[in-house]
Amino acid sequence: MSDAAVAQSRSPGSLWPKWRWLSSEHPLPWLLPASALMIIFGIYPLLYALWLSLHKRNPVTRANVFDPDYNWMKAFGDQRVWDAIATTFLYTGIALVIQLVLGLLIALLLDSDRKGYGVLRALMTLPLVVPPAVTGMMFLLMLDGSFGVLSRSLYAVGLLSPQYPILANSSTALAGVLLADIWQWTPFMVLIMLAGLRSLPKEPFEAAAIDGATAVQAFFKLTLPMMSKVIAIAVLIRGIDLFRVFDYVKVMTDSGPGTATETLTSYSGRIYFNGDFPYASTLSLITLILVIIASSLFMKIFRVKL
């Protein structure tokens, strides 16, 4: 554009003034797009879910009638909700502990600059790129009582009876689902721990070595305390994600057998698929409330600042 054209475009009455906000220092134009997205995709669905939860659905007429406490009272009196909450906490707790311990141990093993370790670290990301629904189906296959490789291996070493259906037995189904989750998400913990380990300063470890500290002492006295913030963040992120588990349960057991693997999200999913949208919304809101309470408590106790 020539100088004359530029001057023309900036002259009074041209289009240019309309775009002056692009150089504005006022926060409003910069906040608007993000706020709009937040309102459309965050606030509105939340308010809609809340509005739905205050209505009772008539399954015959399909009308949603305002009855503010119906779904909430129903949820508190619904034994399946309490069982689902217990299963959700159990699932989250077990998965979190195993993934954290395994993740830290594997990270310690991989925390080396020796040749080939870079490739090993890169390989750790592979399970993370498989969609959870596919992981669920893979494990469904491997745990099949008739031909599953894991079931047959456990049978071969005498731990299972022939054709034992791990996922169809109420005492082993949850363990089967957890196996898939742990396989897929332990690498996530490994990567976070590795990032933490590799950012630790070397000096304290060198000083400890000069003072004659053993590797175990260095781990408990130096590594773990210095990694505490990283561990807390990893637990928080993973814990929130685990609390919302849906894919593995849906694909592998569909909440069964009975309700042995029914979590809050899978229960609300079942209610949703059966068309009772207000009650499903109420259960989703209960999940949200529990996640907020649990993560706030965790952040308070472990003094996590985001």
Binding site: V60, M137, M138, P165, F273
Partner: protein, 507 residues
């Protein structure tokens, strides 16, 4: 999880199931999974599947693929006016839907009307239809309605017989509503005196047995529940060491398939789901006996029965793991398929009869018809919210016409809706051992005409049959709860269902 994530995940699952059921090629499977961002790692998952088994010969036969000239002319003349419109239809992978999906190009070629068939698992069909009618969106022009949902959706569909009269310019010549089997019309399509749709699919319970195994042990083909039970126990005892069980079940906890098995057991022992007082009757003496019998059968079935739906049950039969089964007739063509280990070894029988007689219709509630031939049929419903109602109506008439329905049977071997299809010489000629056989259809027709049973017609039934009943049954059968006490389980189901029925004002 976002809706986008959910869609992606269900797309992946459906693709894997399609491949497992050989509905799509390996190339298509890899292409689709690639689109979903999975790649080759997903390949193994394609070996899985839990949709309805279909082992027809979709390769097609030129002799069957000739649309009659007069129909082509009608499609061009009448359907051509709607060229460029798109008709959307969502369905479970029922055999006729799978066939329709393969041959829909013929319809599009003649009319210019695009047809999009979304094939998804049963519970997703229900969720999609529910959302559509709730918002009166008209996203789908044609609904696949399982028999257990007809009462729920009858108010959302156009009566096809009335529309046929009201729109003579769109009426297919010789469509002939009287050609549909009368029991199917009454048991499936009619609700409150109105046709909610056109009968489209009729899987029905018959008895099937392995003649080689029964002969080996000197067991006569069973005619009633006692003989069936004795045969099952004897075979399990004699053959368990060889990996063969007396029977196989579709007892997956929380799944509709378990509800179907349970219902058949209750009806076969003289019980019903609802009493004439419209209260749950599964906890009365006959209902509890039916469930106890089912628990006994489970002891004589492969352990994976509690993880199996109809697909798993078919696999047990197909792999030669079981010898006596009381279940869906549509398994039969697949048992005679070339890849079957038991080709020609299974025989169809009339459904085993009740020892006590079945409960009278007048003593059951909500239009329930207790009997031994449990039907799991479906109808095609024309959505009254459709934005392309006339184009959808033309498609429905084509899909349910004499010629297309007969071709669906010829390509898949499953039971037809129309009397003329049963009598078609091409269908009779296929009553020999081989893929897509029709040699079971005589038994099927007898069952439809004489002992067909139907689940209750009530708006809450879709929920009860997919949630409360199979979930509580699952707890009992997998020992999660009730300590094996059938009565205790049924009493709990009764309290859940009676409360919901009362809340809905249906008592």
């Amino acid at each position: 999880m976002s809706f986008k994530d959910h869609d992606k995940k269900t797309f992946i699952i459906d693709t894997a199931r399609d491949f497992a059921a050989r509905r799509i090629s390996k190339r298509d499977f890899l292409r689709k999974t690639g689109m979903a961002g999975i790649g080759f790692s997903a390949f193994a998952t394609g070996l899985l599947g839990s949709t309805r088994p279909f082992r027809g010969n979709l390769g097609g036969n030129a002799a069957y693929a000739q649309t009659p000239e007069e129909m082509t002319k009608w499609l061009k003349d009448v359907g051509g006016k709607f060229k460029g419109t798109k008709v959307r239809y969502t369905s479970e992978a029922t055999p006729p839907t799978v066939v329709l999906n393969q041959i829909k190009g013929e319809f599009t070629e003649a009319t210019g009307i695009e047809v999009e068939i979304e094939i998804v698992p049963l519970e997703q069909v229900l969720a999609k239809a529910t959302q559509d009618v709730q918002g009166q969106l008209g996203t789908y022009d044609v609904y696949y309605l399982d028999q257990s949902w007809v009462a729920t959706f009858a108010q959302d569909t156009v009566d096809p017989t009335q529309y046929y009269k009201d729109k003579p310019d769109l009426a297919m010549p010789g469509f002939d509503f009287d050609d549909f089997s009368k029991p199917l019309v009454e048991g499936l399509a009619l609700y409150d005196g109105k046709w909610a749709g056109i009968p489209f699919d009729i899987p029905i319970f018959i008895t099937m047995y392995r003649k080689d195994i029964l002969e080996k042990h000197g067991i006569k083909p069973p005619t009633n529940f006692d003989e069936f039970t004795a045969g099952v126990k004897a075979i399990t005892e004699a053959e368990k060491a060889n990996g063969i069980f007396g029977t196989g079940l579709q007892a997956k906890s929380g799944h509709y398939s378990l509800e179907c098995d349970w219902t058949a057991a209750v009806w076969g022992h003289g019980g019903s789901i609802f009493g004439k007082d419209k209260k749950f009757a599964g906890n009365d003496e006959q209902g509890v006996k039916g469930l106890q019998w089912y628990q006994e059968m489970l002891k004589n079935a492969p352990p994976q029965s509690t993880a199996s739906t109809w697909d798993g049950q078919f696999q047990m039969m197909h792999a030669g793991q079981v010898a006596l089964v009381n279940s869906w007739d549509e398994f039969f063509p697949g048992l005679d398929a070339d890849d079957s280990k038991v080709k020609g070894l299974w025989e169809p029988l009339h459904p085993i009869s009740s020892m006590t007689g079945v409960r009278a219709v007048a003593d059951a509630g909500f239009g329930e018809i207790p009997n031994v031939g449990h039907q799991g049929g479906s109808i095609l419903g024309l959505s009254k919210y459709s934005k392309n109602l006339d184009a959808a109506w033309i498609f429905m008439q084509w899909a349910c016409s004499k010629e297309i329905m007969t071709r669906c049977t010829l390509l898949g071997g499953f039971a037809p809706m129309r009397l003329s299809s049963f009598e078609d010489p091409r269908v009779k000629a296929k009553a020999v051992v081989g893929p897509g056989t029709t040699r079971h259809l005589e038994v099927v027709k007898w069952t439809i005409d004489n002992v067909m049973a139907s689940e209750p017609d009530m708006p809450l039934w879709a929920g009860f049959s997919n949630n409360e009943i199979p979930v509580e049954l699952g707890k009992l059968l997998t020992n999660q709860d009730y300590g094996g006490d059938a009565k205790k389980c049924m009493d709990n189901v009764a309290s859940l269902i009676n409360k919901a029925v009362e809340d809905a004002g249906l008592l």
